[in-house]
Amino acid sequence: MNHGALRPPVDDHRPVSPDGRPFEEQPRWRRDFPIDWEEDDYVSRRDLVKFVVLTSGAFVVGQAWIAFKSLFGRRDVPTARVAIAEVNEVPLGGSKTFEYPQGSTSRLLVRTGESAFVAYDQQCTHLQCPVVPRVAEGKLHCPCHNGWFDLQTGQPLSGPPRRSLPRVRLEVQQGTVYATGVEDSPS
């Protein structure tokens, strides 16, 4: 008897069904429940455990990296002394935006008193919306999600932001306001 023609040999690595037709021509139920491991979506317990362990391990490593970066990888604080405004330029309770250092995100200079100035990064620490000074209330307001910051310290008061606004150190000398550095908020 010619048994070579009955079925293709095993080493073809193709699934062989009792009727001998190729996998693609098999009825739907047989294609849905294939006998061969590769055609099946079977995930072994070991594969699942491997995936879960490696993925959560990656998350742990990522968290450690973020923690390491925030502890030791502080960005260099610019210390150059730059004139940013004249005192007369800004009315009492008024504000002015500036860049410090040149090319940075816009910073906000607010005159809170006769010779009292504060300056912060204008980006809200929640989702980078520009904050608006509310000098009368002693606060900074982010209208996007109703976030509030303290005007004197830059600390968040309410709303979604959880980190302080980066503060720009200022010096007032002979009618000119100078920026001397940025205090990055600890993230």
Binding site: M1, H3, I35, D36
Partner: protein, 210 residues
Amino acid sequence: MPVPDQLEFFVDPGRCIGCQACIQACTECDTHKGQSMIQLDFIDRAGSTQTVPVVCMHCDSPTCAEVCPADAIKRTEDGVVQTARKPRCIACNNCVLACPFGVPKMNTGMNLMMKCDMCYDRTSVGLKPMCASVCPSQALAFGTREEMAQLRPRAKPVNTFQFGAQTIRTKVNVMVPKDNEDTHMDVTAAMYEPAIGHDILDDTFGEGEA
């Protein structure tokens, strides 16, 4: 890692001496959970000492997997039919009843069908299965076709069998005399042998109709 293509399993029942070393070795295989997956069949216990080791033949179209209602029996890329996957097996015994060679065993303690998987942990890294590594007469042999041709010059490997109307092609080979007529071996032929005491007279497989 698949079993290397050139390595094949050869069963030579004529060489079996009934020492049961394979049964002991089989329990030590890491994938068998301490159970022996091999059976040593006595051909005619009253009149002969002849025994036959039965390992899984790893069919091209595994009947056990075809009848599995839970889709639990899977064949790997190298053609090795594995023990039922534990999360899927429903212990229905279909495979146990359907297998032409009587290989699958129901482990009632675990509610899991277990069968010879050619010691997949060993063969997939190129080692011999436990039974073939201990068989003193090499009735169970694992190696290349060329090695076997050299060791058994008067025998040839056959891997096509007849089970009623079903023709079965397997990955595992059985050695038969070289000058034997080239026919399928009929797995059920022994059932009609009065010496064994299973004289089946009715037409169980419907062969009369065909």
